[in-house]
Structure formats: C-alpha cells, structure tokens
C-alpha cells in the first residue's frame, strides 16, 4: 500500500512539528549541559562557549558507574518480577472462572489507589524488620506485585479469542501449558510494553531507593542525580542537566530497542 506523496509530506510535517514540540524541553537540557553556569544563570539559550566541564564534574561527584549498574539490576529484577506476577494474575482473571474473581480483581485495582506516600513509611519499617535494608531484594520486592501490570495484561488477554481456550481444554492441555505456550506468545507485544514500562518506572524511582538504602552499596542513579543538587546554595544546573542526560541515555536506548522489538514481536506473534 503506497501513499500519495502529498499525504506523505503532510504526515512528515505533522510528525516533525510534534517531535520538535515534544522534544524541546529535552533539547534545552541538552544545550544547558554544555553551558557554563554563567551562561545558564544569565538566561542564554545557545551556549556562548561549549564546555564538557559539566560532564566531567557529574562523573566525579558520585560513583556513577556503580550507580548505573545498580539501577540496571534493580530495574531488571523488578521488571522480571512484574512480568511474572502480573501475567499469572491476569491469566487467572481472564481464563479461570472461580468464585469471587471479579471482587478480587476489583480489590487488585483498588491497590492502585493507595497513595505511595502513605504506604512508604510502613513499608520502610517492614523492609527494615526483614533486615533487607541496603539489598537489591529490599529495593525491588515491594514492586513485584503491581495491579497496573495485571490490569494492562488483562486488557490484552481479554482480546485473545475464547475459542482458543476451549480448544485447549478439549485437547486436554493444562492451564500452565496453555499459559506458557499459547497466551504468553500471543501477548508478546503487551509483555514488551509492560516490561519497558516496569523497567523505566523502576529506573526513575527516587524516594524508595533513598529510604531503603543507607549507604552507596546498592544505590541507584536517581539518588546520584539528587546528590548533585544543593539545599542552601545555588544549584549547578549545567552539572545537573549533564547528570540527567547521562541517566536518561540508557532509557532512550531501551525505548528505541523496545520499539523495534515491539514491531518485530507483532509480525511474529500474528497468529490471529
């Protein structure tokens, strides 16, 4: 299917304008990360002198590399945990029929409404009680079960034709096998989406990793970013922006790869 040139141009125009609008705050950050603080504080838009000082400083300020690895580990663990638990739960909500299923689903959804700020102190006490402060487990365990993921996957699982399930029952396929060999492959795209989402939100977490750690052993990059900010002194925005960009870069790469995967998974998983 080919498109008329004029239509194509129109789409490119729309895409470019939207991309510029969406990306402009990030462009500002990019420019600022190369400015001296005088340039920033006097409100220049284009740097008068381009400097790499901010990047050098950001790398000197905290064990950035170690923090990046920690962030990667924590995000990965949370992502796997979420995918596993959510897909299991979503499967139960869509393909199994049992008493109280809908009530239970609603209770699951209700957990999304508990403001994180209200549960953070009791959770901190729990993790401390389990002696999990300063561990990857302590950082990730509270986020394994997410109603959000269950909800997302439920919406997608619901679109899988019921006939498939009935057919599997006739051939005597167990639920676990059906879940592993039929449902998961079909839902590949939504699993990738949830995976990317889980990874990125964990990557961007700040308050919990800060509370659940007291030293640098398992600390993540967002805490590092916060360390670049001062309380009573002027902030070095250039350094903060440089640090911010270093931290954002891996997530952008992941998004780009995720996009590709998403498309690929779509063509492969087109069983319908």
């Amino acid at each position: 299917m080919t498109m008329a040139i004029s239509k194509k141009l129109l789409f490119y125009l729309l895409l470019t304008v939207s991309a510029l609008l969406v990306f402009s705050p990030a462009i500002i950050a990019f420019l600022m990360s190369f400015m001296s603080s005088e340039d920033i504080l006097t409100g220049r838009i284009i740097p008068e002198t381009w400097t790499l000082d901010n990047y050098i400083k950001a790398f000197e300020r905290f064990p950035l590399f170690g923090y990046l690895i920690n962030s990667f580990f924590v995000s990965l663990i949370i992502m796997i945990g979420q995918l596993l638990l959510s897909s299991l739960a979503a499967y139960a909500f869509v393909f199994l029929e049992f008493k109280g299923r809908d009530t239970l689903f609603f209770i699951f959804i209700a957990t999304m409404m508990i403001p994180f700020e209200a549960s953070i102190i009791p959770n901190f006490q729990t993790i401390r009680g389990l002696d999990l402060l300063n561990t990857y487990t302590g950082l990730s365990l509270p986020f394994f079960a997410v109603a959000f993921g269950t909800f997302l996957l439920r919406q997608h699982f619901k679109q899988i034709p019921k006939e498939l399930k009935e057919a599997s029952e006739i051939t005597g396929m167990g639920d676990l096998k059906f879940y592993l060999t039929v449902v998961l492959p079909i839902a590949k795209t939504s699993l990738v989406t949830l995976g990317v989402y889980g990874f990125l939100t964990s990557w961007n977490m700040y308050l919990w990793p800060l509370l659940a750690t007291t030293d640098d052993t398992v600390r993540t990059v967002q805490i590092g970013l916060k360390q670049l900010q001062s309380q009573e002194q002027l902030n070095e925005w250039g350094v903060i922006m440089a640090g911010g960009l270093i931290v954002v870069l891996p997530t952008l790469i992941l998004l780009f790869l995720g996009q590709k995967k998403l498309q690929k998974g779509l063509t492969e998983g087109a069983i319908k």
């Binding site: 920033i40 006097t42 007291t214 398992v218 916060k226 670049l228 009573e232 002027l234």
Partner: protein, 450 residues
C-alpha cells in the same frame, strides 16, 4: 496443578536467589572499596547528612582528611536526601541498630529531634572534658543552646543577606557603596532604578517563611510567645502586631510602586532573574554569595538585610543545620563521634569549609586563616556576610524561635506572602495567616500528648 505450583516456586526462588547472589557480590565489592582491611580495629562512625552539590564535595574532603589524620576512628559519611527526607528517615530508625551515630538536622528540626528522645545531648561530652564552647561564634551557638544546654553541635550555618546590582545602582545615580538599609530606602532605591531602566524591577523577596522570620527578628520581633518558645512550649504566635504586619505592608508599597518582582517560592528563578538584570536587589542565603558573585556579569554588592526606619537593626537568626549524636550507641562509638565533632571545629577545617561552601565558620579563629584572607581579598563582599552575623545583638529575637511546628508555620506564611504578591488584601492575608499558625500550634501541642 502441581506443575503450576512447582513452576511458581522455582521461578520465584530463582528470582530471589538471583537478587541475593548479586547483592552479595556488590556488598563485598564496596566493603573492599571502603578499605575493608583498614577498618579493622577502628571504631566505625556512621554520619548521615543532607549535603548535596558542592557542599558534599567539601564535606567528603573533610571526612577523608579526618580518617587519614588518625588510626582509631573511621567516619562513613552517607548522603540521605534533603533535610526533610533525612529527618523522616532518622525518626523511623531512631533508637534501633540502624540509626546512624551522627545525623545532620536543619535548624527548624531542633525541637522535633529533642522531643523524639532518640538523641544524646552533646552537653554530656562537653561536661566530661570541659570542652570550651565559648570559642565558637556566640551568635551561632545561641540558637542551639536550649534550656542552657547544648544538644547538638552547630555545623553548616548561614543567614540571609541582601544582594544588589552595583552597576544598576550606578546607572540609577545611586551610590553603589552605600546600599539601602531600611525598608524605606529600599523602596526609594527601587523607584530610582525603575526610573533609569523601566525593564528592571527594584526588589525581590522569595515567598519563603525563613526570610519572613529573619525580617521579623531584624526589627526585634518575636515569632512565638513564651520567649520564642524558649522559655516554655509556645502556645500562640507573637508576631500578630505592627512588626509582623510591617513586612507585608512594605511589600504592598513596593507592589504599588511597580518595583517589586514576584518569583513566587522559586529561589532559582529569582537568582536567574537577578543575574540577567531583571531585578536589582534580592534577599537570599549567605551560603550562595560566592556563586552569585562568580556568575554575575556585573558587579555584585552584598548588604545587611533591611529593617523599618522607625525600628533599630537587631541582626539575624542563624539558619542551616547542626549535628546530633544518637542515644544508645556503644560508648566507644559515641566517643569516636565526639572526637570527629571536635575535629570539625578546628580553625583550619572551618576555614576550608567556609571557603569551600560559603557557610560560616563556626569557629571565628578560622577567619584568621590564610585561605580565608585570600578569599576575602578576591571577593571582599564575602566579608559582609560575616560582619552582619557578628553585628547581631544577642537577644531572644535573634536567638530564633524553637518549636516542632515551624515547618508548617513557614508554609502558611509563604501562602500569605503569595497572596499579597498577587494583589490580595494585606490585612486579610495577615490575619488568616495568624489564625492558621495558631491552629497549627494548638494541633502540634495536642499531638505531643503531654
């Protein structure tokens, strides 16, 4: 059925073991990095702080120096977020093994920590060895002396000062070496500046409770009753009078003149506004002095904060933070921590801290150190911040108010200031604020359950 169960079990245990093994490795890695062998036989002191940015660089340097200076104590300085985050966390672990030996708490957290009962007043150590606190800057230690007793060791301290644009002053025909001292002079200077450059506003005051408190203290006004909460727990506000209102009236007059610049609660925006020539004067912490002077494309002047003409200048209340010792720690650990606290007060360390961060030197002997003298030669304005502190007349007003609900009071005052900035009625905004602060005091007093 069984299949499923086993699957879940296996998957889960795999996941958890994966976390644990990697965490084990990491743990070892950093322990070594910290000098695992060196720490053997040393008393470890954990020090929680809230110093980000350049202050952290300076602090880490000092801690490193201390650790290298002797063989008995190893201090581990650990960043815990903002002051609020650090204090919340400290409250949650207070009295347990996870509590640090030393914690940094900002000045308004003072009563909150004392009330928690989880700390050991440093007075105990002062008494034990007759440590002479009078060597330290009286205008700083006054704040931290509660009921005649030292609870914590002052550390990073600052006060607000008024920054002004000397070039703009010259252009407006004002004397750049004689900055305005009173509210009225600030107003007049603002008008002159606006006349010479309609693009530039005269004065900016960030909507920040701390600045209100300082302006109040500078005219001798008290914030809370019962001597600013120092004689006994405060039961209501003490600023419901002309002194308290004068600050709001002053802003209103500048608003009417069109010389007031509104940056809301955002101090970064205010500083950028000043540096790019949108406003000629503003009030901000003395700790930013070096950065402001460094980054300005014009000559920056630093002046004392203003007061109403009919009052007399009293001076400023100290802000910043102090260091607290945890209760229930082994004696050796507390002793080690005390040793570190004393180390921090050495003139050469304080000189380094003062020059590196812009915070005051708690030990005035530091001002005689060569590094400080060099810095003052380079930027004479820095000295004004210290002069203002040392010119402060010790009184209950300048000693500062103590209460655990001061953070809430600040928030309420900020709202009132913003109301005035946006053209709200001064009397109404002021009386609402008084009412709300009184309610907050009452709530805090009931909540303590005493």
């Amino acid at each position: 059925m069984k299949q499923l169960f086993i699957f879940i079990l296996v998957a889960f245990s795999m996941l958890l073991s994966a976390c644990n093994s990697s965490e084990g490795n990491e743990g070892e890695g950093t322990a070594n990095a910290k000098g695992g062998e060196e720490t053997k036989g040393k008393t470890e002191v954990t020090f929680w702080h809230a110093m980000g940015g350049q202050a952290q660089v300076a602090l880490d340097e000092i801690v490193k120096k201390y650790n290298e200076s002797q063989d008995d104590v190893q201090v581990n300085a650990e960043f815990q977020g903002t002051y609020e985050e650090t204090l919340s966390k400290y409250h949650s672990v207070g009295g347990t093994d996870d509590a640090p030996t030393i914690v940094q708490v900002n000045e308004i957290g003072t009563m909150s920590v004392i009330n928690s009962g989880n700390i050991e007043p440093i007075q105990k150590f002062i008494d034990e060895e007759d440590y002479d606190m009078s060597n330290l800057e009286a205008n700083i230690t006054n704040y931290y002396k509660v009921d005649g007793k030292f609870y914590s060791m002052p550390f990073n301290s600052s006060t607000p000062v008024m920054y002004y644009n000397k070039d703009a002053f010259k252009e407006a025909g004002l004397d750049p070496e004689a900055p305005p001292e009173t509210y009225e002079e600030v107003e007049a200077a603002g008008k002159a500046i606006k006349e010479s450059n309609p693009e530039m506003k005269g004065f900016a005051l960030q909507a920040y409770g701390w600045l209100f408190e300082e302006l109040l203290a500078n005219q001798g006004g008290l914030l809370l009753n019962n001597d600013n909460g120092r004689d006994d727990t405060a039961t209501e506000v003490a600023f419901d009078n002309e002194q308290g209102k004068s600050i709001f009236k002053w802003i209103e007059r500048m608003m009417d003149d069109g010389t007031f610049a509104n940056y809301g609660t955002n101090s970064d925006n205010m500083v950028t506004g000043f540096l790019s020539g949108d406003v000629a004067m503003f009030m901000q912490s003395s700790a930013s002095a070096r950065d402001v002077i460094d980054n300005a494309p014009f000559e920056v002047g630093v002046a004392f904060i203003p007061y109403p003409e009919k009052e007399e200048r009293q001076g400023v209340v100290i802000g910043g933070a102090s260091l607290w010792m945890s209760k229930g720690k082994p004696e050796a650990e507390q002793k080690a921590a005390w040793d570190f606290l004393k180390y921090l007060q050495k003139p050469e360390i304080q000189a380094e801290w003062h020059v590196g961060t812009g915070y005051f030197a708690i030990n005035p002997a530091a001002y005689e150190e060569q590094v400080v003298k060099d810095a003052y030669n380079e930027m004479p304005q820095l000295q004004v911040t210290v002069e203002q502190l040392q010119a402060t007349k010790p009184s209950i007003a300048t000693q500062g108010a103590l209460m655990d609900m001061i953070p809430e009071e600040r928030k309420i005052i900020e709202t009132a200031l913003e109301t005035v900035y946006n053209g709200g009625d001064v009397d109404e905004a002021f009386s609402t604020a008084v009412e709300q602060v009184n309610a907050a005091i009452e709530q805090a007093n009931t909540a303590r359950g005493e």
